[in-house]
Symmetry: C2
Subunit: 250 residues, 2 copies
Amino acid sequence: MDNETEQENQGGKQAYNFQIQPQTVDFQYRVTMAAFVDILLTAAGYNADHNGFGIRKLNEINSSWVLLRLAVELDRFPLQYEDIIVETWIEEVGRAMTSRNFCIKDKDGKIMGYAASNWAMIDLDTRHAKDLYLLEGIREFTSGISAPIKKPIKLKSVDSEPFDVFKVKYSDIDINGHTSSMRYIEWVSDYFSLDDYRKKQVSRFEINYVNEMLFGDEVSIFANEYEPDDFRFEIRKNGTTSSRARIVFC
Amino acid sequence: MDNETEQENQGGKQAYNFQIQPQTVDFQYRVTMAAFVDILLTAAGYNADHNGFGIRKLNEINSSWVLLRLAVELDRFPLQYEDIIVETWIEEVGRAMTSRNFCIKDKDGKIMGYAASNWAMIDLDTRHAKDLYLLEGIREFTSGISAPIKKPIKLKSVDSEPFDVFKVKYSDIDINGHTSSMRYIEWVSDYFSLDDYRKKQVSRFEINYVNEMLFGDEVSIFANEYEPDDFRFEIRKNGTTSSRARIVFC
């Protein structure tokens, strides 16, 4: 790739504006990680649409996007009613997976943090991954532009006693009939007390989505302080891994 | 009151527009009752501000509004991305309580349902009710205009085995340090299965807020089918009544 092309190809980068709504903040008026990730996924959806590879387009070939991994690092959390800008772009497109990055800015353009994510395309019937190269033109969005944070890693299994056990309920289920991605984040965020959140701030959040959960599944959640202030989580449904997550405090 | 004044006094009635956001719908693309009530409370907040008696104004005298009772009746539930109009106005203003009604319309002005609510003003330190007549000019909003649904009733105690027991967690707590009003509604809505929601539609929802809940409180939830398709709920914290609710299916 020559310099000219490199400069032109920004991976379909666009910026989207959001305002932090009152329902999405915690007791300290800060957006919750669950609600913040929801904003990132909304921006990803807009951008995929804009680039011609949105959910509706994929639905035409009986496919959809699934989020595999996500890492978020924030210097500070946006506050209630704050206006933020989310820039997002494609970094790589492989056959099995594509990577999408995010840069989060305040309304004056000051960078608040970054996020990095990996996505696969699945068949809506088999729920298995499909070859991304079937999407004509998607490889043109390969920009090679990374975000200046560590990429989301494959998190290891967590062995401990579950700190919470319950069943998946009506309010956990989204329009796809699965537990919404936001709930997983709420469940692991709920491991900590208000005092923990008063004293420390989350500096990195990471999640791996492994298996979807359905209504009535028995959920058990495991936690382990892997290193000081580096917590690892595992969410199992009926005994199998559904998701793994990581919360690092600074 | 002569006819002229009666026609003029609409209880400070205003109409507000909302769009049903994707995060707020259930597996059938219908707004959840919890999210719908949140829209009503947002409209109530806008209207109180507009009439000069918003939360910020009450905060100046170390007071706030608390919702005591609410009843909602919908012919149909708004769907994802649907634009709706919420009209709201004051019906009565007593010393201990004021009543506010709502009319919900689709974008073409067709009525989808109504809601009726009762509110008290509390002192932010003692959390006790204060005389509403301390608010100069508020009685002028008395319109006497009711909504054509039964007013919210004082719900009776429910005795049964709890169907759910857990502790109040980080994600349940709002900026006031209490469990958010929305969570109570999610918790009772979760008594039913997806099949129940597929087969029947909620025709009336009712809630009484009795006592606030804090982080770490032990919650137990009781349910009873009072009459066929008329379910009554009680939410207790550490053994005392925190809230009662009612869900009627048609």
